[in-house]
Symmetry: C2
Subunit: 492 residues, 2 copies
């Protein structure tokens, strides 16, 4: 892209001044509009080292109220970030509705750099490209404006700037070893950038190349680009039409699940203890092998999720797991991409995250209560499969459970909760309201099970009319899955 790209000729300084004045007015007006519409905007600025990205951002934000934007500028991933998926540190920093985030270099720079430096293989490079494509598309589909700029300078210009920076004791620290390396291997890096830009130049999220030789002219191009990008016709409502890309496992509809399964008190006790012991040993090994584990529990109110999680936790070292009870989102969560709050809660490598309810709320409660549009929840199946495949690629073991009971059993449990003082806190009017929508939920759950059970993140039904049966089954599945994973890992 850069190699074929012809920069517009730089206008004279009078014209720059006039256009700058005009565009700044527009910029201020568009900001207000974005804020009023609750539109979140991501401005990604990639480019060569010393191309002036940082100082352009500096000028840009002088005209914005500091409460409405954030500049994200990151060195290499920190220890904590290294123990999370590649895109984690970018995802957790996306803006909330009505705000701007400027990324001063981002995922493109990180990826091309690690590829250039041969820290990752070509296969990994391509997989990450795919991840980036999905990341950007998901943002855009979920209402984010994503504007991408590449600041371009020539090898000669870059060398000149690096030398100048290095000569001044006040700025020499800004010249990194990588900048020097990049300048020395300019041709190779140019090809890499070019390839990256080509592959990630999406119709609705295109690249804009900025001729960055002159600072004022670069700023003008940037500002004009941002305003043009914001003013473009908004994305078609509903987002992208997504085809399923993943191999899906067949699941029985809930109505055909045979629930009459049980286990004796005696057998339960013995088996539970054995499973917890096995799990304990596995947990240490997972920790040492740095394998992250993600367990998802969904199920009817009163089905006994809490009890299962408790028994499972009983077999884990408390230093290595966290339980995330998921309720209605807090404001900062509601005003961001619906997966944001789950990205934020991802475990570190070697740790276990147990989700008591999860991102599947999108295709259950949000669908049924109308908290998102039909397009939104229809698109979510694929988005969720993508999310989980991202976690799998990172190395996570993902196991998902649906805790199943029948409607009659739920009624008995609700009544028992109401009649037992120490259980009364567990039952709320909302539980009763949800119960009235049982059939709608059953339809939604069936569709969810049909569309999101993948080989790398399968669903398991826990028949829990007999709670003991459900608990043992959960522990057995977790234990066996982890044993298999570790076996494979060690044979590698």
């Amino acid at each position: 892209m850069i190699q074929q790209w012809k920069p517009t000729e730089k206008p004279d300084s009078l014209e720059i001044r006039e256009r700058m004045k005009k565009i700044k007015e527009k910029w201020i007006q568009l900001q207000r509009q974005m804020r009023e519409n609750g539109q979140p905007v991501i401005v990604l600025i990639e480019g060569w080292g010393a191309a002036g990205k940082g100082s352009a951002i500096g000028s840009l934000i002088r005209e914005i109220d500091p409460r409405f934007f954030q500049v994200v500028s990151m060195a290499g991933p920190t220890e904590e970030e290294q123990r999370r998926p590649f895109l984690y540190r970018y995802f957790v920093r996306i803006p909330e509705a009505g705000k701007f985030v400027f990324y001063d270099s981002g995922w493109g720079d990180e990826l091309t750099k690690s590829y250039a430096k041969k820290e990752i293989s070509q296969a990994e490079y391509e997989l990450r490209l795919k991840s980036i494509e999905r990341f950007e598309r998901q943002l855009s589909d979920n209402g984010y404006k994503v504007l991408k700029f590449f600041f371009h300078i020539s090898q000669k210009e870059q060398k000149k700037r690096l030398d100048e920076l290095a000569a001044d004791p006040d700025t020499c620290w800004r010249v990194s070893e990588y900048d020097r390396w990049q300048n020395k291997h300019y041709e190779k890096c140019l090809e890499l950038f070019d390839d990256y830009l080509k592959v990630t130049d999406f119709q609705e999220i295109p690249w804009r190349i900025v001729d960055a030789k002159d600072k004022k002219w670069a700023l003008l191009q940037l500002l004009e680009g941002i305003c043009a990008g914001i003013e473009e016709a908004p994305k078609k409502p509903g987002g992208s039409m997504l085809e399923n890309e993943f191999e899906i496992q067949e699941m029985l509809p809930l109505s055909q699940v045979y629930l009459n399964k049980s286990v004796s008190e005696q057998e339960y006790k013995e088996e539970l203890e054995k499973l917890q012991d096995r799990l304990k040993k596995l947990h240490y090994k997972l920790y040492r092998e740095k394998i992250p584990v993600i367990l998802v529990f969904e199920g009817w109110d009163g089905a006994g999720k809490g009890g299962i999680i408790k028994r499972l936790a009983g077999g884990l070292d408390p230093r290595g797991y966290e339980v995330h009870p998921i309720a209605a989102p807090e404001p900062g969560e509601k005003f961001r991409h619906y997966l944001w709050r789950f990205w934020k809660r991802l475990p570190k490598t070697g740790h276990v995250a147990i989700f008591d309810r999860s991102w599947y709320g999108r295709v259950m409660v949000e669908r049924i209560e109308g908290f998102c549009s039909a397009e939104d929840w229809n698109r979510a199946y694929q988005e969720i499969n993508e999310f989980e495949s991202e976690l799998f690629r990172w190395g996570a073991v993902i196991i998902k459970f649906w805790v199943q009971i029948d409607k009659e059993t739920q009624l008995i449990r609700f009544q028992e909760r109401e009649n037992t003082p120490e259980k009364r806190w567990k039952i709320t009017p909302e539980d009763w309201r949800n119960r009235e929508k049982w059939d709608q939920y059953e339809e939604a759950v069936d569709e969810m099970l049909q569309k999101t059970g993948t080989e790398y993140a399968p669903w398991h039904i826990l028949e829990s009319v007999d709670k003991r049966y459900g608990r043992l089954k959960a522990l057995r599945i977790v234990t066996e899955t982890l044993e298999n994973v570790l076996k494979k890992q060690i044979n590698k």
Copy 2:
């Protein structure tokens, strides 16, 4: 304390079994009670390496619903944590109302370890002791139950356990170099622990020593200790009576501030540019010297905080600062210690955090609207001085501004906002309601200025009837303060 301490004789196993059964029932009942009362509980378990802290916590939590507790177990501070004050990583992990947090080793272990290993001086050790005292007292005063246990074993027993752990390939990784070092220098460490326990054995937050030679017996002591601690008479309402410990600068009452100060447009422009340039250079130096900077802006609605922050930000490198607009707390914030959300937003060393409103809400809006008790906000002056002195000790530069206008000026600005479409979003019915309480606020602000202006975190009044005057003054104060700090730093 340990050296004089006489362990209770271990009961026979029948008695242990019976007492265990009884205390477990009590434990379950108390948990419910804590949850219903919205009482947060912190259980800190310190002790010798291999004393069985982790496994005791493991047993303990089997009886708790995993949604209501968190186990915090930390290795040495991460990179991110090292760039924050000593207590940061503990403070950000405190529980919310109705939940438990178990610290598997905590601040005591970290402090004694770094002192034993001579990583910190005696003076620093003593300062940190003081910080810990304040930390625990503040938690307790703000409604937290803090229960502290020390797991004690003999040198011989420790050696035996370490050898056993090391011999098993499944557990050998759990024996750290420090454990071995501790065992070798047992006598010295015992004295250190003893000293630490003595100094931090507060009347309302006492230490409980657990004879940890036998695991079941240790667990029983722990459970009985926790239940006893929870059942103790609650802290006297209102918390500790606190005397001011800090040197306070005298401040004029707001009514005596002379507001008729202004500056010409011409002078403003020239001076602003100069100050921003100076600031820019300073910012790089701060970054290199790793000095954190905390700027606090409080002031009347419509006084122009936003405009000042914008000009200030214009002189900073966007990669090195963050603006935190502080509104009403979100639920997870409201249900914790009121300073929690500010601890979470502390800058990294070398970064600048700008607070647009701040922790002073405690003694202004929370006082006036009755969101906390009179004891709470009265105590807060001292708590805030402690908080800021903690930040200062860490190395932060703290500058606080009150942006001052008169009541008439506010009216004009409110009306202007209502009459200008692009400013209308800035004015809300709440602004008008607050305006009616002007006199109450003025009283609260005067008291705040009198009680929290310290040498290390002074207040400055910005006379902002002429906005330009206020902006220049803010930039001048920040610039000069930072220049002085850097001069001192470099002369060190």
